[in-house]
Symmetry: C2
DNA sequence: TGACATTATGACACCGGTGTCAGATTAGGA
DNA sequence: TCCTAATCTGACACCGGTGTCATAATGTCA
């Protein structure tokens, strides 16, 4: 057999028309049981596989989702944020479970990102994943909505369309972290992250954290804060600058685990002991968290559930079903860095 | 405008035929400069995107590669081997660079894996990634070759077709590890991994390691070996069983970093100090390696280069060009676990 | 036995591009 | 001025399926 078999080849060998082959292979009730069997038989022998391009072209859908990964442009090229990789894994699994294929693509948020997977009929919908720079994305979101592109995004909320967002309850997670530190009696707390509304997830974490302290009548000292993006390097430098400015604290909340790991490095370097001198709590529960020294207390985001929800919601959108705003419950994982 | 624009819409507005539109958009030299400009103009206004399904159907190729990830069926569902995730990242980037899209799919090596991406014209070729169980795969490889499926694989070698494999020089890497331990004077060495030919990569690492010791006239003690697959758990249990059997050693070579990390946990638990009592060397240089305590000495595999080579070789195969067997040089990264 | 519903099948248009071929127009050369 | 070559464009078949419609074969009931 030269080249790949087509449904016409099968039709020929099975002694039926090509239409019937198409129907038989998709188990249409219109086709006779005996015929169906025979067609399947021949198809198997010829190792026939439906041509997805032809099929997709005709049906105008692709059984494929596209995952767009946005990375902090400043992060090292070779190292991808492990939290996103975990998400990628769970999204892949969720797609497979639903019978969808997944196209993966990295976007650098600085450049003009190409969301044309849907326009070009390569994918039925998009999943946007990133510690989104909130403000920069809004115009893009609007374009996507105007074009009726189906998409969901992680973290960053879309104006007036809360149903398009799946995210961890960052505010609640921040509270969990705060309550834990308060319970251990460490009320003089530093925050490393970004408390501007540029980074909505970090902002929400900080808000929850702050409010939990306020609820106990404690006001966080604004001077004990330093900005950082979600890399180890950034966390290290931010913490170093606090130390260099002679700012004292007995506990530290980092907006992400990578930041926390960088912070611990800076603290160690300054001969500040973790957890004896400073309790440290991170956010994400990436795989590394349990291996660092000391093991990192952190707020876990359930990536498996998150991936599943992103896919589920997107499929609902594609099918035109109603979707609710989705907020996933965080969970505190207590380890050696704070006890 | 209802629905998506097609090339006929553009033809209409630009006052030319659809054929000309198609040519103009692909910058065919056949079309007049002025016409080309006008067509592009209209296309942009209508936000036109070529329908990939139609295009792929006609041209019989997809500008897409598929990545099949094989995981150890025993590994935890939620945690994917970080080494593979790093590879995934670099493969994605390499694909983007070459203008190809990437379909990602997880396969459980136990079940019958579906390699029909190419048959169904979804992808032009396959990249196989996994700590392959060598023997199980050979029949599958044969089928793929018989069907003229274009594919490359990482690690596992394909009988008679060395050109289909890209891999790290595992033998050389094992030697590097051995020479380092010898240089530190730790000649009484344990090995955790799989030294059977079931796991070709681990086997090669062990061979290189063993030969380097032999070159110094030292024969490794077979009793100081334990089998493990590439998970932290497995490394932990394997090491524990050695300790439980009262087997002594002053250095340890693990076939992968995850195994090494598990081994360190087992050692610590038994109050055996790393590196004072036992020097530990791993393999892979996953991101975690530098964060564990003590930081792990390891043999680095250059994942960026590996991803690039896999993609490059696959594209060459697709284009029918000659491909060489590809072996990437490993590099020793010395950290606290062995000095 | 004729009228009608049911079942199974084939013919055919269609999805939206790409590639080939033929034809129109203009330019160039004798 | 006429002929040939070069340039540009449109018509059309084609890729390999899917869905609609018409039709043949069979069964049912009055």
């Amino acid at each position: 057999m030269k080249g790949k078999a087509t449904s016409f080849d099968i039709a020929h060998y099975a002694g039926v028309s090509q239409s019937t082959v198409s129907r038989a292979l998709r188990n249409s009730p219109l086709v006779n049981e005996e015929t169906r069997r025979r067609v399947h038989e021949v198809a198997k022998q010829l190792n026939y596989k439906v041509d997805k391009n032809a099929s997709n072209l005709r049906t105008q859908q692709s059984s494929t989702l596209a995952l767009l990964l946005f990375e902090d442009p400043t992060s090292d090229e070779s190292q991808i944020n492990p939290f996103f990789l975990a998400m990628l894994g769970s999204i892949t699994r969720a797609c497979a479970k639903e019978g969808y294929d997944l196209l993966v693509s990295f976007q650098s948020s600085s450049s003009d990102w190409q969301a044309d997977y849907e326009d070009s009929h390569r994918a039925d919908g998009l999943i946007l994943l990133g510690y989104g720079d909130y403000l920069d994305y809004q115009p893009k979101f609007k374009t996507l909505i105007d074009q009726h592109t189906k998409f969901v995004c992680w973290g960053a909320s879309v104006d007036n369309r809360p149903d398009l967002t799946v995210s961890c309850d960052n505010y609640g997670g921040g509270k969990l972290a705060a309550e834990h530190l308060l319970a251990t009696g460490r009320t003089d707390c530093a925050f490393i992250g970004d408390a501007s509304d540029h980074s909505p997830e970090f902002f929400a974490r900080y808000q929850g954290f702050k409010d939990a302290f306020l609820a106990k009548g404690i006001k966080l000292n604004e001077r004990k804060m330093a900005n950082a993006i979600s890399t180890e390097e950034s966390g290290y430098h931010a913490t170093r600058s606090l130390i260099a400015n002679n700012i004292r604290f007995n506990s530290l909340f980092a907006a992400s685990d990578l930041i926390a790991i960088g912070a611990i490095r800076a603290l160690k370097e300054a001969k500040i002991k973790v957890p004896d001198d400073v309790h440290v709590v991170g956010f994400d529960n990436i795989a590394v968290a349990s291996f660092v020294n000391p093991p990192l207390t952190t707020v876990q985001q359930d990536t498996t559930l998150a991936g599943q929800m992103l896919v589920d919601n997107l499929l609902k959108l594609i099918r035109g079903e109603h979707v609710e705003n989705t907020l996933l419950p965080p969970r505190l994982i207590i380890r050696g860095s704070s006890v």
